[in-house]
């Protein structure tokens, strides 16, 4: 079972935060097919948000085909998002950690590292789109 | 409703019951004692033939208990102040009216439950007090005291019950109107005292037309029973004109009589009597006591009904 964290200052709507956190948990292997998501009441009691928000998030996940609501039982994971298996994330995370260490050693602060990652991502995406 | 009323007021109710029990006990002990003293005095006066004045000095040592009995006249005010005034006002002050008026009970029903309870309590206390005091006072009544005096009339018979009902509803209506306990309390005391003073002095004497009696100025006794309520006594001339009140008795006198006024002179009364002057006495006979009790009770019960009606209208105002 996973626990959610809602940050009202982030600007991301709370229901979207739940969708993203479920997606992340699926990608990194915290959740697998057949696992049950916390019930609406459990989520509401632990993070103090509107139950409709949780319902909206679960509906969104259901529409995307990742989970399935079984009336009177709960919401269960039916499919993992496409992408590499969970192990791939772990390996990539390790090599990213090594790269971050290297960048820090070169004198970059966190802000510069973030900026570098973001610009690399965007230039890469633009290049990809241009190629398509 | 009954459950809530009892839960909220059980402490007050038990306290009142305790105070009442102490009072009844004190009255019972002293009442028995006074009856014994009176009967003993009757025995001894019969021997000397002085029974006409037996009551004059009989209970002069019992001032404290007589004061206590007379003080029961303020009990209706206390009921109004401690039970009537806070009934609605304290709820509003503490905000609990918003709790209670949003349960599945209409304000009317909530008020009805409370009104029934407070009227029952007031009736109970009024009856208990008046039964005790009326019983206690029977020795005084035997002596032939004037039972119309405020110290007697107001604490005996049925009016104490009517006053208690009026006091309770006056407090209730004041609380419903002012919605502040302290203000309602002051209004209750003020209105009650003012109304009682007005009734005793200006209204009560006129419930029934007073009996008028003309007595010779030379008569040894007025012939009016000492337990009656004398309202007015003055001298009238032969034409029936009141010559006392406008202060011109001496000026209006025949010269023959005026000469008899002065130190060491006598006979002015018999002189005036010859000229047709008479003593005019207006009074309420003792046997009208219960008529007066019923009339006065009727007035205060009617006022209580009006006040309860007012409270039911006022409770509908915005919370």
């Amino acid at each position: 079972m996973i626990a959610f964290r809602i940050d009202t200052k982030s600007g991301v709507p709370p229901y979207m935060q739940i969708v993203q956190q479920v997606g992340h948990a699926l990608r990194v292997g915290l959740l697998d097919v057949g696992d049950q998501l916390p019930t609406v009441k459990e989520v509401v009691a632990s993070v103090a948000i509107n139950p409709n928000t949780v319902l909206k998030a679960y509906r969104e996940l259901e529409r995307a085909g990742f989970v399935e609501g079984r009336p009177g039982v709960g919401t269960f994971v039916t499919r993992r998002p496409p992408g590499p298996p969970a192990g791939a994330h772990i390996a990539l995370a390790r090599s990213l950690a090594r790269w971050v260490d290297k960048a820090r050693a070169a004198g970059l602060d966190d802000e510069s590292i973030e900026g570098l990652v973001r610009s690399t991502l965007y230039s890469d995406r633009d290049a990809g789109e241009g190629a398509a | 409703m009954t459950w809530l009323v009892w839960r909220q007021h059980r402490t007050d109710a038990l306290f009142a019951l305790g105070a009442l029990a102490v009072f009844v006990l004190v009255a019972a002990l002293t009442g028995v004692h006074m009856a014994g003293t009176y009967h003993a005095a009757l025995h001894s006066c019969a021997a000397t033939g002085s029974c006409d004045s037996v009551g004059d000095h009989l209970f002069s040592g019992d001032g404290a208990i007589i004061d206590l009995i007379n003080l029961t006249v303020i009990v209706p005010v206390l009921i109004g102040v401690f039970w009537g005034a806070p009934l609605l006002a304290r709820e509003v002050e503490q905000g609990t009216h918003k709790l209670i008026w949003t349960q599945t009970v209409t304000r009317r029903r909530w008020l009805a439950g409370n009104v029934v309870a407070i009227l029952a309590a007031a009736t109970f206390i009024g009856v208990a007090l008046t039964v005790t005091v009326t019983w206690w006072s029977r020795t005084f009544d035997l002596i032939g005291h004037n039972r119309f005096q405020p110290g007697h009339f107001d604490v005996q018979g049925i009016v104490p019950v009517a006053y208690a009902l009026f006091g309770a509803t006056l407090g209730l209506a004041a609380g419903a109107l002012l919605r502040r306990t302290l203000a309602a309390l002051a209004a209750t005391v003020g209105v009650m005292v003012a109304l009682r003073v007005i009734v005793v002095n200006y209204v009560r004497p006129h419930y029934v037309t007073a009996v008028t009696k003309l007595v010779s100025l030379t008569a040894a006794s007025s012939g009016v029973d000492g337990s009656s309520w004398p309202l007015h006594t003055h001298i009238v001339d032969s034409k029936g004109i009141n010559v006392t009140d406008n202060g011109n008795l001496v000026a209006a006198m025949p010269n023959a009589c005026r000469r008899l006024i002065g130190p060491g002179r006598v006979g002015v009364e018999s002189c005036l009597d010859r000229y047709g002057y008479r003593m005019q006495i207006m009074y309420q006979p003792a046997n009208r006591f219960w008529t007066f009790q019923v009339i006065e009770s009727g007035i205060f019960v009617a006022l209580a009904v009006v006040l309860v009606g007012a409270a039911f209208v006022l409770v509908q105002r915005d919370a």
Partner: protein, 304 residues
């Protein structure tokens, strides 16, 4: 004023609701709609009519003009109406010398529908003593007892006046969680007032914004946020934007113009940088606008 598509039936509706005290207008032509099943935030500065509106809806006050409907009924002194509506006043009224247990017993005597068992277990689960006079409890505990009483009635509409104002952050969080669980249990619409929007952002999905005794905004929070944008661009004439959209707030510096607008159509001008708007920003913008309009009206009134 809102283009919300009604997906749920309306639980609370008012039309031109006005409350006039002797010299003061507490509520002026207030028309709102709250859909069934929503948790609606009644937001506004102090003294803008939030309490007046809630008390009229709870049947505690009478409107001077206009209509109000709660679950299709006008608020009245009718047991059928009172049974459906729970109300918690700002001062969290309880009988200080009575215990939580006494209060629960009282509710059982005063209501047709009353869940004593659920109320007791709720109080116990919060570690609040059942047999201690409520006057000895903390503010947070009293608020929880009062909410328990309001919920034990099993109302279909719950009206809460500044319920978290007096609570510390932990008690506030617990209260809001409790409220959310009650809504998750089904068939409950909540309208709760607050002068702070942060407390309510988590739990509310609908908002009514009162300013200057009038409703300024009423709708689903997500929809309202999507309908509003912040535009940042070089300083210039904004009349084109004003014709196409509603400008809620405009700020100009020597070089820059920042607009908060309600979007009424496509945004075509590429020279504006478009940002999403946060709820608090939106609320403050509307409050500021209402204050300005009110000042302008007063000036006009004084001039006329």
């Amino acid at each position: 004023m809102t283009t919300r598509v009604a997906i749920a039936p309306v639980a609370i509706a008012t039309h031109d609701l006005t409350k006039q005290y002797r010299a003061k207008t507490a509520l002026s032509r207030c028309s709102i709609e709250v859909p069934e099943g929503s948790v609606s935030a009644l937001v506004g500065a102090n003294g803008t009519g939030k309490t007046t509106l809630l008390q009229i809806l709870a049947g505690l006050s009478q409107a001077t003009r206009g209509e109000a409907e709660v679950l299709g009924r006008a608020p009245t002194q009718d047991p059928a109406f009172l049974a459906e509506v729970g109300f918690l006043a700002q001062e969290i009224p309880l009988y200080r010398r009575m215990t939580a247990n006494d209060h629960i017993g009282m509710g059982a005597h005063l209501n047709r529908r009353w869940d004593s068992a659920a109320a007791r277990s709720r109080v116990e689960s919060l570690d609040i003593p059942l047999d201690q006079p409520v006057g000895t409890l903390s503010g947070g505990q009293r608020a929880q007892v009062a909410l328990t009483l309001a919920l034990a009635k099993r109302p279909r509409v719950l009206l809460l006046d500044e319920p978290v104002a007096a609570l510390d952050p932990l008690a506030r969080r617990q209260f809001i969680a409790a409220l959310g669980v009650a809504v998750a249990d089904g068939d409950l619409t909540v309208l709760l007032s607050s002068h702070l929007v942060n407390d309510l952002e988590r739990v509310c999905d609908h908002m009514v914004l009162l300013a200057d005794s009038r409703p300024q905004l009423c709708g689903e929070i997500d929809t309202l946020l999507a309908e509003h944008k912040v535009l940042i661009g070089p300083r210039r004439d904004t009349s084109v934007i004003e014709r196409a959209h509603t400008v809620v707030q405009a700020e100009t510096t020597a070089r820059q113009t920042t607009l908060l607008i309600r979007v009424r159509g496509p945004l075509i001008d590429p020279s504006w940088e478009v940002h999403d708007v946060a709820l608090e920003e939106l609320v403050l913008a509307y409050m500021g606008r209402a204050a300005e309009l009110s000042r302008a009206r007063q000036v006009m009134g004084a001039a006329g």
